[in-house]
């Protein structure tokens, strides 16, 4: 039951084909080194859940053919422009996009976190987002007359996959203020985490670290991956590698360019196919 400490490849091997995988946005804790390991092992058929969006990670996985569905409020690489492989795949009809909105994804995960079948949510009524979604239903506030409100079905991912600054040997993971990572871990059946370092003290022994820590209870496995979020930046630890990100966007404009980028970027000789 205690979390296992694995190598990056062994961690990636824990994501089966077809899994529903929750991932955070580029400004949170994105397991990019693990994503390359996943691509290297040739994972297929993933259903990504952006919490609430995905960025470079989603674009890489889409480009490498690992994804059939993305459920997210957005696929965005921010100031770098449109996410190139995502945009190409959408135009080609190659992947299915379940367009959501940030609070609905949070609400769905919070329902799962609470073992609830659904959560109510304000807003959204009248948006085309609600069309064709059988996991959102119009209900009513039972404490008022004529007050329609949307009910959002729980989202319980198979796997939460993210990167954090540190973990301890017992498998507790320190995420600081990035509490959406805790929500993901609470909601998902399994939680796979890469960390900058595994520390030798108990993160729960002192409230100063415990306050930002996901207890091992919710963690399935951990792998150490120093700079595991590069080329993105990890809050106050390291900044983004702007040149590498621009190079990616440039190369990934075309399928061939993306393949060339991937051949140069994969962590080990195994090809994606």
């Amino acid at each position: 039951m205690a979390p296992q400490i694995l190598t990056l490849d062994a961690l990636a091997a824990r994501v089966p084909d077809g899994a529903v995988v929750a991932v955070p946005p580029d400004f949170s804790g994105v397991a990019l080194a693990a994503t390359l390991a996943l691509i290297a092992r040739g994972v297929r058929g993933l259903h990504l859940v952006g919490v609430p969006s995905t960025g470079f990670q989603g674009d890489w996985l889409v480009g490498a053919g690992c994804v059939v569905t993305i459920e997210a409020a957005a696929v965005t690489i921010g100031e770098y422009g449109p996410a190139p492989r995502f945009t190409a795949a959408m135009k080609a009809g190659a992947i299915r996009m379940i367009d959501g909105t940030c609070p609905a994804i949070h609400a769905g995960l919070q329902a799962a976190e609470k073992g609830l079948p659904f959560m109510p949510l304000r807003g959204i009524i009248g948006s085309d987002l609600a069309v064709h979604r059988d996991d959102w239903k119009l209900g009513a506030n039972p404490f008022a007359d004529d007050d329609p409100i949307l009910m959002i079905r729980a989202i319980r991912p198979d796997i939460a996959l993210f990167h954090a600054a540190k973990a301890d040997r017992a498998g507790n993971v320190w995420i600081g203020v990035r509490r959406e990572l805790m929500l993901m871990a609470h909601a998902a059946r399994q939680t796979l985490v890469t960390v900058e370092e595994i520390v030798e003290y108990d993160l729960l022994a002192d409230d100063a670290t415990a306050a930002g820590t996901i207890p091992a209870l919710y963690v399935t496995a951990i792998a150490e991956a120093r700079h595991g979020m590069k080329p993105l930046g990890l809050r106050r630890l390291y900044g983004p590698d702007d040149a590498a990100l621009r190079r990616y966007v440039e190369m990934a404009r075309t399928e061939d360019g993306f393949r060339a980028w991937l051949d140069g970027g994969l962590p080990c000789p195994r090809a994606a196919e």
């Binding site: 965005t76 367009d99 948006s127």
Partner: protein
């Protein structure tokens, strides 16, 4: 360093800032340097008020409860203003952040709706901001409604649009008629040009003032303190506009 009298972005920053003065708390989405700078300008001259939360930023963001906090905070009425854009915006203030054509295989795909479908309902003063003012963006009817501009009376909606600010003009939103009214035209642009460049119908008063240019004190505050502050979150923007690096 040579800076022109007032750069177009500076006009937009100053114009948006006047819509924020006196508010308590403003949230600004990621990748929104002009709204962000406008919020910082309002704060700089408001003696620390409004408070500002720039989403996804490490600085200028006090949230400590994860991605959900913005949305909870808005629903509690603790956020007075927010900004939304749109790949398309129509005359009923509907916005499209999803795409053009069949959503399953779109001709054009935008990043996605983000929190628009929710915040547009809950934040009292949503300022639509889009620099590009063209019939391509300002359409008669959006292809896809990420978030509707108005709702039926029985739908809980304390929030909604307040104004639409573009690179050419300011439209004020009219809650009662669900239509925009041309409020001011930026210097260098004309009412006729706007008519040609706007795909939706809007109310046109007999006289339309020019958008007020920022005064010297405002420009000085913007180019000094605000430039240094915004550079911490948008270094490229601050460098391009004012040739400054981040304040400590």
């Amino acid at each position: 360093m040579s800076v022109p009298t007032c750069q177009p972005e500076e006009l937009l920053i100053a114009t948006v800032a006047t819509m924020l003065d006196g508010l308590g708390h403003i949230a600004v989405g990621a990748a929104s340097p002009i709204p962000g700078a406008a919020a910082l300008l309002a704060r700089a001259r408001g003696n620390g008020r409004p408070a500002i939360s720039i989403l996804g930023a490490v600085d200028e963001n006090a949230f400590t409860d994860g991605g959900k906090e913005l949305f909870d905070c808005a629903a509690e009425g603790r956020i007075d203003a927010f900004f939304l854009g749109g790949g398309q915006i129509d005359g009923e203030a509907n916005i499209n952040l999803v795409g053009i054509g069949n959503p399953r295989q779109p001709k054009v795909r935008f990043p996605g709706s983000f929190g628009s479908a929710y915040l547009y309902f809950l934040v009292p003063r949503v300022i639509l901001f889009r620099e590009e003012h063209s019939p391509r963006v300002l359409v008669s009817r959006v292809d896809y409604i990420s978030a509707p501009g108005w709702s039926a009376p029985n739908v809980y909606r304390p929030g909604g649009p307040y104004a639409l600010v573009t690179g050419r003009c300011v439209f004020a939103w009219q809650k009662e008629t669900h239509r925009f009214r041309l409020a001011s035209v930026h210097p260098g642009h004309t009412v006729d040009e706007l008519r040609a460049e706007t795909g939706f119908d809007y109310d046109l008063p007999d006289t339309v003032p020019a958008t007020v240019l920022p005064d010297a004190a405002t420009l000085s505050l913007m180019r000094g303190r605000v430039a240094g502050e915004i550079a911490r979150t948008y270094p490229g923007f601050a460098a391009r506009l004012w040739n400054v690096a981040a304040a400590a």
